[in-house]
């Protein structure tokens, strides 16, 4: 067994492709998501339609543009130009200042600024929105240093393309789950399929090594590597996504470990069915990636799915892990609120290990 593990490690570290899948892909993915979700905005292209063109409106526009956050991309003159400006796809926000802005502020103490946002990236949009609102508050303070109960400058926000503005925290647990699932399952299934493809499996079989030894020997190195990969993802989620970490870190790591073992067992099961590296890779992609993206609530809410798909989603191990991560990281819940999900994943693990030991062929057919 020990010799098996040493050999597996040697092979992994020599195979650049494995290393890239194990560490490169997770890091790049997390960085990409982190970048897309970064919470500092800078030089966001905006358009402005100033209908009043008076003192206060000019003052407000200057204030917005002189902040580092926004760049005036287009200065619109008429309402007709709005659609055109959005269609070009460059501007992320359109600020419309209503007619007689100064007059309304002075006489009624109340004026409306309309904010139209491109929400195709919901996180950026919500960020832009809050930054703009902050500038409006500031502006208000500037023209009227005595704080008023009722806000004077009323922002009217309108989201385009994705009015729901889903929370950023939906993404992180999903990404972590997909990465762990894919990396672990794909790596083991490929590495076993490779032994079959190169004929070394034939020699292994004609030796006193037991199937369980081959399987454990295969899995252990990947458990360690995937686990370190998971830790890296979590650290990056924490730093790049500003993902809160309210709950118990040890519990989170333990749950991650369990999930990794489950994914590895699934990978072994895939490899008992696939005979070549290519089949193994395709199977892991289709059997794991698509369902874990589509059916785990990661992108599409499970509640909105047809009933039959809701049942199918119960069979997706990643779904339960997403729930666990959210509970621990965001809500700070302990084991008492996630023991059910944990048991389900444990059940999957035992099931897949049992199935692969049983399906593992001691002969060639």
């Amino acid at each position: 067994m020990r010799i098996f593990i040493i050999k597996e490690f040697l092979q992994i570290f020599r195979d650049k492709r494995s290393l890239i899948i194990l560490f490169g892909i997770p890091i790049v993915q997390v960085l990409l998501f982190g970048f897309a979700l970064k919470n500092e905005i800078q030089d966001i292209p905006i358009a402005i339609l100033d209908k009043s063109k008076d003192v206060y409106s000019q003052q407000l526009i200057n204030k917005i543009i002189s902040s580092d956050y926004f760049v005036l991309e287009e200065d619109l003159q008429e309402e007709k130009a709005i659609e055109e400006a959005f269609r070009k796809g460059k501007i992320k926000q359109l600020i419309i200042i209503e007619n007689d802005f100064s007059e309304k502020l002075e006489k009624k103490n109340r004026a409306v600024v309309q904010l139209i946002l491109d929400a195709s990236n919901p996180n950026t949009a919500s960020m832009i929105n809050s930054y703009t609102s902050a500038i409006l508050r500031d502006f208000e303070h500037e023209i009227n240093p005595i704080p008023t109960r009722v806000p004077m400058v009323i922002p009217e926000t309108q989201m385009r393309y994705n009015p729901e503005l889903r929370s950023v925290f939906m993404f992180v647990p999903g990404v972590i789950t997909i990465i762990l699932m894919l990396v672990s399952a794909m790596m083991t299934s490929i590495s076993i399929a490779r032994e079959k493809e190169l004929g070394t499996m034939e020699v292994l079989l004609v030796s006193p090594v037991k199937p369980i030894q081959i399987i454990v020997g295969k899995v252990l190195p990947y458990v360690l590597l995937s686990f370190s990969s998971a830790v890296i993802i979590l650290i990056m989620a924490y730093t790049a996504f500003q993902m809160p970490m309210v709950g118990n870190l040890v519990l989170l790591l333990a749950e991650s470990l369990l999930f990794i073992v489950m994914a590895l067992a699934l990978g072994i099961f895939i490899s008992t069915v696939a005979n070549s590296q290519q089949t193994a890779m395709l199977l892991s992609m289709f059997a794991l990636l698509l369902p874990s993206i589509l059916l785990t609530g990661f992108i599409f809410p499970i509640k909105n799915m047809p009933e039959i798909l809701q049942y199918v989603s119960q069979l997706m191990p990643p779904k339960w892990f997403v729930i666990i991560i959210k509970n621990i990281m965001i809500k700070g819940n302990g084991i008492e609120s996630i023991w059910k999900e944990t048991l389900i994943i444990l059940g999957f693990t035992v099931f897949f290990i049992g199935l692969s030991v049983k399906k593992f062929k001691t002969r060639l057919e």
């Binding site: 020990r2 050999k7 030796s207 002969r363």
Partner: protein
């Protein structure tokens, strides 16, 4: 040592083995000779317990290949036809790994593999994938030997290996045989047959003959002539139309022409010249294994 009784094996509609029966004695160097697709690999896989025969029974060291496979696997050495070592591990790592899975160490059995391993030891830090064909094969043999098996199955060990390495390889087998290891080897190269104690000629899943190579050659019942001329291809055609012809095929630089009756070589030569052949040369030949094999093959095909 090895008993095979009426072993059948089919893959779908293809009958790979059609009732093979034979016995191999302890300490023998036994060769299976036959073309690609004859069923050699299938038979080997049955013997090393990787395949279960559809019909019939096989035992190796009195262990049934189906029921006692676990015990059997600790005692046999197997070198599959493909180069089945870890290409990304070094020579030394491969050996240590295979020693490890048989619960032994390189040190413990160093003496046994020493004559072979010494030749590749200077490259022990090199990855197996970067070795030459001959060295890979020596490494594979070392790995198959590392646990001191009593019987060694080598499936086409010399395919794709240069002539010098092949010769060296057979010398190694001879020395292993002297240490009492039973060796079962398969090869598509007829000339290697003569190096075995006994051989089985196998074709399309059936055994054509089993005997000492010399006995098989001695049983060759035709008169054999080697004929050479300018246009070899036409020569074969003309010879096949000859009334005395049993068979005629190109083998090396001569056409091997066999006849059921003894022929006057000068007369044959004159006949050939009269058909327009130039620089004709006719010599008398001793049959080799390939001639015997072709002859046996033709006979079985005629019966079928």
């Amino acid at each position: 040592m090895i008993q095979i009784q009426n072993v059948h094996k089919s893959f779908g509609n293809i009958q790979a083995l059609k009732g093979i029966s034979l016995e191999i004695a302890e300490g023998e160097l036994f060769g299976f000779i036959g073309p690609d697709g004859a069923g050699k690999t299938t038979l080997f896989r049955v013997l090393v317990s990787l395949l279960v025969p559809d019909e019939g029974k096989a035992t190796v060291m009195d262990l049934d290949v189906v029921n006692d496979y676990k015990k059997l696997r600790t005692q046999l050495g197997y070198m599959p036809g493909r180069f089945s070592l870890y290409q990304d591990l070094t020579v030394e790592e491969n050996l240590n790994f295979f020693a490890g899975i048989f619960k032994t160490t390189l040190k413990e059995n160093y003496e046994l593999i020493k004559p072979i391993y010494q030749q590749i030891e200077p490259f022990k830090k090199r990855r197996a994938g970067a070795l030459s064909g001959g060295m890979k094969q020596k490494l594979a043999l070392s790995c198959a030997l590392i646990h001191k098996p009593k019987v060694l199955f080598l499936d086409e060990p010399t395919t794709g290996v240069d002539a010098v390495s092949r010769k060296e390889f057979w010398e190694m087998l001879q020395s292993l045989k002297k240490q009492g290891i039973t060796i079962v080897v398969s090869t598509p190269y007829m000339e290697e047959a003569a190096l075995c104690d006994r051989i089985a000629l196998i074709q399309k899943g059936e055994l054509l003959d089993i005997d000492k190579p010399q006995n098989i050659i001695n049983r060759y019942s035709h008169f054999l002539y080697g004929i050479k001329a300018e246009r070899m291809y036409d020569l074969v055609k003309i010879l096949r139309e000859n009334t005395h012809c049993n068979s005629a095929y190109l083998f090396g630089e001569y056409v091997h022409f066999s006849s059921n009756t003894e022929l006057d070589m000068d007369k044959l030569k004159a006949e050939l010249i009269s058909t327009g052949m130039e620089n004709v040369e006719v010599i008398s030949l001793q049959a080799n294994i390939e001639d015997s094999f072709m002859d046996l093959m033709a006979k079985t095909n005629n019966q079928a």
